[in-house]
Subunit: 213 residues, 2 copies
């Protein structure tokens, strides 16, 4: 998951925000949620602290977001709404490595809103659902990377795109989020390499899931 | 991580517990922590609820475990202390698939203490550290699987065992713990297969980490 709007690989022209006061208030409030989450964590999050930090009247925040669950849901919705597409480097390994570089950057930046949102997903069912949807949409956006590799003849035509993407990215989340090991600058490329080799060797073809013993 | 002592693949003779009343009290208390964690979560965990559930005097629990952090640390210590070794199936794919079957079983059993402990690691620094140590010790125990594959000539001699193990297991944690997708019975073998093929293709040799661009 990459939820950093300032990310370097984002397309040049961000989708224009619906303008005006409403949009400005949303930005202020969601920025305040990010700051509160990364500084004080989910437990300390209240409508009142967010309103105070955002400099927005608390009645406005209550009316629009209702409760902490509403704020969290909107943080995920805003992250999903970022106009992003994966890099086209010319090779599957390169594309997966670029994706992994972005994931590693978003999980290790200080503070990391991506890491904070994953932590929140262990506290709130609503957040867990929103995170799943965000990941679902990111993986769907990334399937083009595998499709391009198929068109270039790098990997078999019946390769399961999702399986390749998960194999290529999961070790990074595992190390950084679950094992909490320090970032290894070589890891994004290394696991991209192994997933690309596995894909080329036919480890992720669709049939594979049916004839597995 | 596999923290299920009742697991089917455990070696036949569990290490005898140091006997007597002290050991019995520890078992009662840790069982109570498991039950409280999986039923009510970390937030509801107190020395008093654990003591009541265990049927042990609260002064005893306070004296021996001090606080909730002490209880959690001991749950992890007990999990690490299980006399476990990976299956020797005769092939790298088979060994990794067996390992993944155990992980999938421990994460999907109801209630899952493994899943509860991962959730707790997002609440407590102490638990995060203990989980990291537990995983470290499990991965160390599993390196024999890769060593055997090297001896059989299945994979290159300079294969990085830890990298293979993480590639083989991370997608399972990613799907079950982070993406929270339902268990897929074919997944343990499928990702074991892809990691074994990648290892055979030389994707996890030690040099690979230095010449990565």
């Amino acid at each position: 998951m990459n939820s950093a709007p300032e990310n370097a690989r984002q397309t040049a022209t961000p989708r224009p925000r619906p303008g005006g006061r409403t949009a400005r208030i949303r930005t202020q409030v969601l920025d305040a949620v990010h700051a509160e989450l990364t500084e004080h964590g989910y437990d300390a999050l209240t409508i009142d602290t967010v309103a105070a930090r955002a400099g927005v009247h608390r009645a406005t925040v209550y009316r629009r977001w209702r409760d902490v669950g509403g704020l969290i849901a909107d943080v995920f919705a805003a992250a999903a709404d970022i106009d992003w597409e994966p890099l086209d480097s010319g090779s599957l390994r390169g594309d997966l490595a670029a994706l992994n570089e972005e994931i590693q950057a978003s999980l290790t930046e200080q503070p990391s809103i991506a890491a904070a949102l994953i932590a929140v997903s262990f506290r709130s069912e609503e957040a867990a659902r929103a995170l799943r949807q965000l990941w679902e949409s990111r993986y769907a956006q990334c399937e083009i990377v595998v499709e391009r590799a198929v068109r270039r003849g790098e990997i078999p035509a019946d390769t399961d795109a999702r399986a390749v993407l998960i194999a290529a990215t999961a070790p990074l989340y595992h190390q950084l989020v679950l094992l909490r090991t320090p970032a290894d600058p070589g890891l994004p490329d290394r696991i991209a390499d192994s997933a690309a080799r596995g894909a080329a060797a036919g480890a992720f073809t669709q049939q594979d899931s049916t004839d597995a013993s």
